[in-house]
């Protein structure tokens, strides 16, 4: 943490990776690396955020992300409490604005929000004086997921992003994970490819800084890592796919595909995995899989994010 004296984190909120400069990102990843060490100690707790309050406001369900933020907060000794749609008055027809103002009245230092509406985190951040972390909003952004993926890849790739190629495979159109990862990794110099049937590609993708494929065998050739996205089963009901068996025949990542990739190439998945649909069973458990590293990286990265936002007003350091 020796960069800390020189570096000043400028952001009240973390809403999208697009707000991060390259120094912001690298500082955050370095900080996460130092926190990851805490997670290997016998006593996995430091008093850094003692007396700070972190609210986990998860209007859309997500056990994984919520748990990860919860653990991250607790390891730094913050008081965390979680509120879902059923725990809040949103169920009773209260507006998002009123629920947010109620949360603010409890004087939290940071609110992590997960919401099914794109732009919801920004709406809350504009409304409230506390720090707001976007824990995923609609199809728009999931900055901590992108940061943890970046963290995992940085370790796997020995700190080099230049000349690396990443394939993101699956439902790009409806994926906040894809949007955030594409932006963050290309900004660090990674070449990004995406692969999906056209029905799962977003409007305007031709203007994105990515190479677009609709054929997995071609897309995976010579990549340094492949990231599978979780396929939402309702995409078939929405008429975007004929049937799931056909989808998996064309787009399920298996061990055979990775033989076309560069030696030592890694596989990522934000979880939870649909085994046999977007990733084969043996691929999920193969040594190339970084899935469990991602989970560990998630805690460390979120510790860094909570730390930076919760101590922003403490004269630069806690």
């Amino acid at each position: 943490m020796n960069t800390e004296n020189r570096y000043h984190w400028p952001h009240k909120d973390l809403l999208d990776v697009t707000q991060l400069s390259r120094p912001d990102t690298l500082h955050l990843l370095d900080l996460a690396a130092s926190f990851q060490e805490i997670n290997t100690r016998p006593v996995k707790k430091v008093p850094t955020l003692k007396g700070k309050t972190v609210v986990l406001f998860f209007v859309e369900d997500s056990t994984r992300t919520k748990t990860s933020f919860d653990v991250a907060g607790k390891r730094l000794s913050a008081d965390t409490f979680a509120l879902g749609k059923s725990g809040s008055s949103l169920n009773k027809g209260e507006s998002l604005k009123d629920t947010a103002l109620t949360l603010q009245a409890m004087s939290p230092d940071v609110i992590v929000i997960r919401h099914s509406s794109s732009g919801a985190a920004r709406y809350i951040a504009d409304l409230l004086p506390c720090g707001v972390v976007n824990g995923g909003d609609g199809w728009h952004a999931h900055p901590t997921q992108a940061l943890l993926d970046c963290f995992s890849l940085r370790q796997a790739w020995d700190n080099t992003f230049e000349d690396r190629t990443l394939l993101i495979l699956g439902d790009i159109a409806h994926s906040r994970v894809a949007r955030s990862n594409i932006h963050l990794l290309t900004s660090l110099g990674v070449r990004v490819r995406i692969c999906a049937p056209r029905t799962l590609l977003p409007a305007g993708v031709d203007h994105w800084p990515v190479e677009v494929y609709t054929n997995l065998e071609k897309a995976v050739r010579d990549v340094d890592a492949a990231m599978c996205l979780r396929l939402q089963l309702e995409r078939q009901q929405a008429g975007l796919l004929p049937d799931l068996a056909e989808y998996s025949r064309r787009f399920c990542l298996g061990l055979g595909h990775m033989e076309l990739a560069r030696p030592g190439a890694k596989v990522l998945h934000p979880g939870p995995m649909n085994r046999g649909l977007e990733i084969s069973d043996d691929m999920a458990d193969a040594s190339a899989s970084l899935v469990l590293n991602q989970v560990a990286a998630g805690v460390a990265t979120r510790m860094a994010v909570l730390y930076l936002l919760a101590t922003r007003n403490d004269g630069g350091r806690a």
Binding site: S118, R122, Y123, H140, P202, G204
Partner: protein, 420 residues
């Protein structure tokens, strides 16, 4: 009673206007004739003289949603915005699908604005706007409706569209169709394109509008019955309309000032104030529409005045209702286009008065002897900022809120009587 408006500016020329009773008597170059004996004189001091405008597409929300707007507040906004007549859509609660609802609206207008602006209700095309059964159009016409529309709920059933056109034609009711394929982009939040892709929002392709417009145009040609395409937003739709007009199809069309001034990038900050139906499209669409109103391919301007309460627009984009308030702002926005050289003052008269009157068979003021004495004086230089203090509509839902606009209506006369 005679009235003389002196020293007004009309189409760049200084004029005097003489009004006899409720009709225009003469318009002459300023100072040409002395005002007749016993005539009330009003010195316009060089303000721009314009005919009262006609807005063929507004939502006044009464009955049923008076918290958003009511007939009284809507007509006041109209009067202050320079409008002498507004055609109001039927998506009230209850829907304007029976004579009693039409009469209720007209009664409310008579009570609050007995001397104008005029309220001209539009009949629901189908019962409850459900798109299933044709509304009693003869009854609605008799009660005072001037056109027919299912606006708010696009008509999906093409057979029904045909029958409404045919049945309405006998009664002199032209169909104003909100063109939107109900399946293509269902659940959309904004235009489908670069911005929706980046923001992760469900988009609506412009082809959905063009498809339905093409359907209506095919029917209009086949039946030889006119049809009016509501709030055109897409370049592709303009192309279809141009093609149809060249073939001699009886099609007319409208667009709104906001489609000539804004594009999809207005949503980049997830602003619910920029959510409207049809959605703001690309810069290319905006340019095509500017050209189309200039050349008359798109015949008229309308506000699509769609007031909502502040709390309804305060939330996330997917929850917020579509629509802008428009009556207070329309002329200033049009004048921004005049200032830019996109339109002329005479284009403004054509788009906001002459053509809507021609399409819907309404009285209008062309400043010829015998025309209705409906006119207003406008200061094109006056800067103002849309806010609660400066607007007369109950609603402030506009992306122009807080921005400096230019051009203000100073005085408005209808039937020779001064409204303010």
């Amino acid at each position: 009673m005679r009235l003389c408006i002196k020293n007004a500016r009309h189409l760049e020329a200084p004029v005097d206007l003489l009004v006899d009773d409720n009709k225009i008597m003469t318009m002459t170059p300023a100072g040409h004739h002395a005002a007749p004996e016993g005539c009330e004189i009003f010195d316009a001091c060089g303000l721009v003289l314009m005919p009262s405008l006609i807005d063929a597409h507004v939502h006044l929300r009464e009955p049923g949603f008076e918290y958003k707007e009511d007939v009284a507040s809507g007509l006041e906004a109209a009067a202050r915005g320079g409008f002498g007549a507004v055609m109001c859509m039927a998506n009230t609660k209850p829907v304007n699908d029976t004579a009693s609802v039409t009469r209720h609206m007209l009664d409310r207008a008579r009570q609050s604005h007995p001397h104008g602006p005029r309220l001209l209700p539009i009949a629901a095309a189908t019962i409850g706007l459900k798109g299933e059964t044709m509304a009693p159009l003869a009854e609605l016409k008799e009660a005072g409706c001037v056109a027919v529309s299912n606006d708010g709920r696009p008509l999906e059933n093409t057979e029904l569209v045909r029958r409404i056109m045919e049945y309405g034609a006998d009664l002199g009711l032209i169909l104003i169709d909100h063109c939107e394929d109900p399946h293509l982009g269902r659940g959309w939040i904004m235009h489908e394109g670069d911005v929706s892709g980046l923001l992760g929002l469900k988009g609506q392709p412009p082809a959905g509008e063009a498809l339905q417009a093409a359907r209506d145009i095919m029917l209009a040609e086949y039946l030889d019955i006119p049809v009016h395409i509501a709030h055109v937003s897409a370049a592709l739709t303009v192309d279809i309309i141009r093609w149809a007009k060249e073939r001699g199809v009886k099609v007319s069309a409208e667009t709104c000032p906001h489609y000539l001034l804004l594009d999809e990038t207005a949503l980049e900050n997830y602003s619910t104030q920029s959510k409207v139906s049809p959605p703001l499209r690309t810069a290319h669409d905006r340019e095509a529409l500017r050209e189309a109103v200039k050349t008359g391919i798109v015949d008229i301007l309308v506000t699509d005045h769609a007031p909502h309460a502040a709390h309804e627009k305060d939330g996330t984009l997917d929850e917020a209702p579509c629509g802008f308030t428009g009556l207070d702002l329309a002329l200033s926005l049009t004048w921004a286009l005049v200032d830019e050289g996109v339109l002329t003052e005479s284009d403004a008269h054509r788009l906001w008065c002459r053509r809507p009157a021609e399409i819907f068979g309404l009285p209008w003021n062309g400043f010829a002897p015998g025309d209705p004495a409906d006119f207003f004086l406008f200061n094109p230089e006056e800067a103002w900022i849309p806010s609660r203090e400066t607007m007369y509509s109950k609603s402030l839902n506009t992306p122009f809120l807080g921005q400096t606009l230019r051009g203000r209506v100073k005085h408005h006369w209808m039937g020779g009587r001064k409204l303010f």
